[in-house]
């Protein structure tokens, strides 16, 4: 978990700063690119509103 940041999606279009927590999420390369992918982990910083609850 990272500190809260201003959400650029709304800030850039003048809809407010909308600060949110940012989460660094690691994805397995095979989950993104399929079984043939090189084996590695890709970490992406995602704003809270990009995430959805476990279903």
């Amino acid at each position: 978990v990272r500190p809260a940041h201003v959400l650029p999606d709304t800030h850039a279009v003048f809809e407010g700063e909308n600060p949110q927590y940012v989460y660094t999420v690691g994805f397995a390369s095979t989950e993104l690119w399929g079984d043939d992918a090189e084996r590695f982990t890709l970490h992406v910083d995602l704003f809270e509103s990009y995430l959805e609850g476990d279903r």
Partner: protein
């Protein structure tokens, strides 16, 4: 519009700049100050000092890994594009490499301005798809057993890689070590080698 008729980034930037100046939105003197500061005074030497200090002072290394931004500011390095710096430590098992897939986010206070390959769409697209191949093309062969971790600077967080201290430098002091640390090693596309 065909690709050949589109003006290049330099031309588009120039057009944008003159519009912003014309409308009084930016002061060209302020922009020039920024450019000379980051071209002349701030560069990868700052990051190299941080790395050498971490190699020679275990307590500093711990602080750096726990809270990058504040540990880096102990050396007086802070400013735009460095408000939230996270330090990634290379090890025998893990190799970290940093990218900004969206643009060219980069930790300015410790590395200066990004090199052109870092901004290249090919690097940005391919290092998140086939990092081992890209690193090999850039002259770095990551051992097969080593896990590769790619970090996309997709928020305000900026990443700095803490390379492994090369063998044979046990007697070196921080100042000598600083001279070994390269910009590319602090992005994770190279390792630091003893001469």
């Amino acid at each position: 519009v065909t690709e050949t008729r589109r003006p290049g980034p330099a031309q588009r930037t120039e057009a944008l700049e003159s519009l912003l100046v014309e409308r009084g939105l930016i002061d060209p003197a302020v922009m020039d100050r920024f450019i000379t500061t980051y071209e002349r005074d701030v560069g990868p030497l700052n990051g190299a000092k941080v790395v050498a200090k971490a190699w020679t002072e275990p307590g500093y290394r711990e602080r750096l890994l726990a809270e990058g931004t504040s540990a880096i500011s102990e050396l007086g390095f802070a400013g735009p594009q460095g408000e939230h710096i996270v330090v990634l430590e290379q090890s025998d098992d893990v190799h970290h490499v940093v990218v900004c897939t969206l643009c060219s986010c980069y930790p300015w206070p410790v590395l200066g301005l990004p090199p052109s390959w870092y901004k290249d769409p090919a690097y940005r697209a391919r290092v998140v798809r086939e990092p081992r191949t890209v690193l090999h093309e850039m002259g770095l062969d990551v051992p097969a057993g080593k896990q590769i971790e790619v970090w996309d600077s997709s928020s305000e967080v900026r990443y700095l890689v803490l390379p492994q201290r090369p063998a044979g430098t046990e007697d070196w002091d921080a100042e000598a070590l600083t001279g070994l640390v390269t910009r590319d090693a602090m992005v994770g596309v190279a390792v630091v080698e003893a001469p």
